[in-house]
Amino acid sequence: MDFSIFGYQFMQNAILAAFLAGIVCSAIGVFVVLLHMPFIGVAMSHAAFAGALLGLWLDFNPLLGALIFSLAAASVIGPLADRGALSPETSLGVVFSLMLGLAFLFIGIIPSTRSAALDLLWGSILTVSRGDIVLLAIVAVVVIGMVVIFFKEIQATIFSRSVAMAVGLPATVILYAVLFLTGVTVTVTLRSIGGLLIFSLILNPAAAAYQLTYSMKIMFLLAAVFGVVSGWVGLIVSYLFDLPSGATIVLTSSVIFLLAVLFSPKRRVKQWENKAINGETAR
């Protein structure tokens, strides 16, 4: 088998991008899974997509447009979910459909950028630049740094916001910080992973890790490993069988999730879901 391809700069960039995106997306995924808000990823990624298209249309940096739109989405989703006027899923659904509508509107208005738009939707990890990688690395360091430094605050907030608030933690600030980090992550991975596929790379590795551990620290680590493995295996499969890399990365992460479900020790705990709220725990 010829692996000389890995000597090329573009492939090395892709491997590095998959590594960084795998780590940062899966860390965000842990938040998303534990907060029971899986649609954050999809709403944010479509916001970033619409913002990037606006950038293409008005001729400014698409990444800046993506960042503005995803942060705007975060600042709308937070208060909507917070005030309880709408359920989080409903507010996310509304933001998602609004952003999707805007994205299609921009595609319709600017037909000349249709192929660039498709690139943003599907991503193209094989064409990422060193600049993209530096940006990804900075965001990865920030996200991982935040998780390490504020682990106890994050742990309490995603376990129960009311508990976090009751013990004197600024739970709302932490939740908003998580939403903003999600927006930034989606923005910097837009070019490599794509607006449509980013959702899977956020959700699948973290959802797989959730099946396998009762420790939040281990969940972060496992999710990162699964994210990186998805990226790397996806790239190799893409090269070997000449398939689109975005699709193979996402499919690999889905296979990892299915395997995790299959071998999950938590399958046994199904019984607990129907447990009576009273009574003693089995010793």
Binding site: A156, F159, A166, M216, M219, V269, I277, G279
Partner: protein
Amino acid sequence: MVDAVIKIENAVVVYRDSVALNGVSLKVDPGEFVGIIGPNGAGKTTLLTIVNGFTRLAGGQAWVLGQTVNGHNRHELRKQVGYVAQVENTDPRVPVNVREVVMMGRYGRLGLFHRPGASDRTVVDEALEMVGMSHLANRPIGQLSGGEQQRVGIARCLAQEPRIFLLDEPTASLDWKARADILELVKRIHDLRYLTTLFVTHDLDALPHTCDRVVLMKNGHIIGDGAPDKLINTETLSRLYDLPVPVVEERRPHIHRTGDVHRRDG
């Protein structure tokens, strides 16, 4: 004269277009164990959560531990106020164990950038021991029964080393034994730690055994305040729950119309 630990004056709380509290005043002295009872929607939880700043006042003022409760100091105040709510359904797969939940009680006191140390672990171990949960310390929290989860919630408050203890129907949805155990535990902790306790409950039978004082609430007002033996009788319950006296008597045969409470345990 000792300063009140909690002082609420003319509190008005409005949720969207309904008034939850309408000019309520309450003063609680150090070491008091106050039970708050009343029908659903009376404003009991709202009154309780003024103390830890979960509920914001539309009118009136609240002082807790000598400070006015406001948006600036509520995080600081909460570090000294333990709060246990009703048992919630916790996902049995959630990756957090019992010891970690109890340790969360230390997080506010530790502050940002500080990790729990040996002394925090000792406090957590003692709290677990006190509520009888040491043997389940490493169990995922979602795999505990309702009564056990409530014990863990109480241990979290103990680890917080609070001065005020707020309990919002901690025995709701628990069976008779679990309820009695939790009440006994709460009373023991109140006495041992010299706490000031506010306790929202529907458990009328428990009040005389646990509380020094009972506050009756209805439609956003306090309609009675006094010793449980004096206050909990057929007439007040009839007024509180809008039930005719004979119906209350029929449903609560152990309460005599004289106002005495017949203690079933002798």
